[in-house]
């Protein structure tokens, strides 16, 4: 993050070969940090030749809020509220990722019902994320109607989440060894209803854009990422799959219920903005299939691990009616007791909507992580941005930014 520098010298410093040439006709444009198409706060220093982008230097850190430092102070259940605020357009997926890592560190096996509940919410989060990111691409290149269709369906998913846990936006739904509340019949009914009605909207959305001349012209062949570059630059998620990398953590290293469920990994080979859009559209259909299968096969039984493991809070009935329940409750909520972690370090990743979202945790015996590192997909994808935009026009900046789905809160943490 620059303070008081205009940017020219930074551009020159970043690319010595370009800096020595006396190219007076090139001019520098500050794109952001406040710009409608950046959606949040990120800044690009663009070096322009007329309307053509010669070079771009991302300048990030405007939203840096020390999430990893906070992770060294808050315990495993408290930190889930912070993960909500990383990729805030799919907070449920972050919650699942965080507790997936925590449970790997603690060596906890969650109950079958919890596995399915988490799978359902992670896939709903993927749909809501893809709706927003594709909707925003549409919005930025001028397809406003598409954005409204997408946002209406996001609202339906918000409703489901509200019925599920009381919060619409920052859910903090998962807990170590379980979830906040079990799924009620009402939630299941709402999800079934969504599964029934959503394909029609998806058809409408595809009809709106897939053959839309303006949209296709604005996105096809723009921001091409080859397969080799995608791997070398460590892209994951829809961005990598649109370039032909068949990497999907759900298949490569199955977690939750993905090994039991039937779904396809959606890929394309072109690697341009249009391919990324198509991959996201196709993934929403696959996610919907996953949600449907998981809801119909939802196992019965408890959603939290048993009281004897001293990990999840016991139910109120157990607390009031048995001495073991009372003791377990007190031991968990007292700040100097909590649960113990092994002195180990783990890296665990899930396939978040945006790509591989991993957490690296170091345990030192206490209930607080010694180090809580996050591998944010936005951070890695934004580093690719200058490579994608070179040679394109200024108006393509918004198309490429939108198709990478850069969320500044996750980018800067």
């Amino acid at each position: 993050m620059a303070h008081g520098t205009l940017g020219d010298e930074r551009l020159a410093a970043s690319d010595p070969a370009a800096g020595v040439r006396d190219e007076d006709y090139l001019w520098t444009l500050n794109f952001g940090p406040q710009h409608p198409a950046t959606h949040t706060t990120l800044r690009l220093l663009l070096k322009l030749d007329g309307e053509r982008v010669v070079d771009a230097v991302p300048d990030i850190g405007y939203l840096h809020s020390g999430f990893e430092k906070i992770g060294e102070k808050l315990d495993f259940n408290q930190y889930v509220t912070v993960t909500d605020r990383m990729n805030y357009i799919s907070p449920m997926a972050n919650n699942v990722a965080w507790h997936h890592a925590v449970e790997k560190l603690l060596g906890i096996e969650i109950t079958p019902r919890c596995v399915y509940v988490r799978t359902i919410i992670a896939e709903l989060a993927r749909i809501s994320d893809h709706l927003l990111s594709n909707g925003a691409v549409g919005l930025d290149v001028g397809a406003f109607t598409f954005f409204l269709y997408a946002f209406y369906q996001r609202e339906v998913i918000y409703d489901i989440f509200e019925t599920l846990c009381g919060a619409r936006f920052t859910n903090s739904y998962t807990r170590t060894g379980g979830v906040m509340h079990d799924m009620t019949p009402m939630v299941i009914e709402k999800i079934r209803n969504f599964v029934r009605t959503f394909p029609k909207t998806l058809d409408d959305m595809e009809r709106l854009l897939n053959r839309n001349r303006i949209f296709v012209d604005r996105t096809k062949g723009v921001g091409v990422l080859t397969k080799e570059e995608a791997i070398n630059r460590s892209c994951t998620g829809p961005v990598a799959r649109a370039s032909g990398v068949t990497r999907d953590v759900r298949k490569d290293d199955p977690y939750l219920a993905y090994a039991d469920l039937d779904f396809k990994v959606c890929c394309a080979t072109e690697g341009d903005c249009f391919a990324r859009y198509l991959v996201r559209m196709a993934e929403m259909r696959e996610s919907l299939r996953l949600v449907e299968q998981a809801v119909e096969n939802l196992p019965s039984g408890p959603v939290d691990v048993g009281m004897d493991e001293r990990i999840a809070l016991p139910t109120k009935e157990q607390v009031y009616n048995s001495i073991e329940g009372t003791i377990a409750h007190f031991e968990l909520v007292m700040s100097n007791r909590g649960f113990e972690t092994p002195e180990e370090e783990i890296y665990a990743a899930i396939e978040a909507p945006n790509g591989e979202l991993g957490f690296y945790l170091v345990g030192d015996g206490s209930a607080v992580a010694y180090r809580a590192r996050c591998r944010p997909p936005s951070y890695i994808h934004f580093a690719v941005f200058p490579h994608l935009i070179r040679g394109h026009t200024l108006s393509d900046v918004v198309a490429v930014l939108g198709s990478l789905n850069i969320i500044a809160a996750e980018l800067d943490r």
Partner: protein, 176 residues
């Protein structure tokens, strides 16, 4: 390929560079000397069998002197660990590489320890290394664009060091 085989293969190829390994841990890891890091990484990436072509993450952990209450339980001496998480897309396996460093170069406080940059092996390492330098204070020699990334350029200190203290004020903004 099992972990033991891989460690033996690395030890045969780079006899002086592999300093340790823990294959019993939840995520097994191999430690290498900073001097040999780039060669080992290039070998891991380009070998026909191994093909660790994706670098998932670079992290630095600051193992600091523990406070008195924990001192009896904590087994480490103060040091830094730079941790590399690799993934092989064709083989679908992961690998953890570690580099152990002193907290300060030559034990002079303020002098950052040095590791060679692997940005020439995996392009993605560029921003990861900048972040590690910015937040944890490790200098990456040979890095193409070595400067802070998340904190402002004139920020003092490296926030993820365990002995870091927030500055009293920054450009007129109260820190603590």
């Amino acid at each position: 390929m099992s972990g033991t085989n891989l460690v033996d293969q690395l030890k045969a190829k780079f006899p002086d560079q592999v300093t340790g390994a823990d294959l019993e841990a939840i995520d097994p890891w191999i430690a290498v000397r900073p001097e040999g890091l780039v060669d080992v990484c290039r070998f891991l990436k380009e070998d026909d069998q191994l093909r660790f072509d994706m670098l998932s993450c670079i992290t630095c952990v600051d193992y600091f002197e523990p406070d008195e209450k924990k001192a009896a339980k904590v087994p480490w001496d103060p040091h830094l660990e730079v941790v590399y998480h690799l993934w092989s897309v064709p083989n679908k396996v992961s690998l953890v590489l570690k580099v152990m460093l002193p907290r300060w170069k030559d034990d002079t406080e303020g002098e950052l320890p040095e590791v060679p940059s692997v940005a020439g092996v995996w392009r993605t390492a560029d921003w990861h290394e900048r972040e590690v330098y910015d937040l944890s204070g490790v200098r990456f020699t040979g890095h193409p664009d070595h400067k802070r990334i998340l904190c402002p350029e004139d920020w003092v200190g490296h926030p993820l060091r365990k002995d870091y203290e927030l500055p009293l004020e920054y450009h007129g903004i109260r820190g603590r």
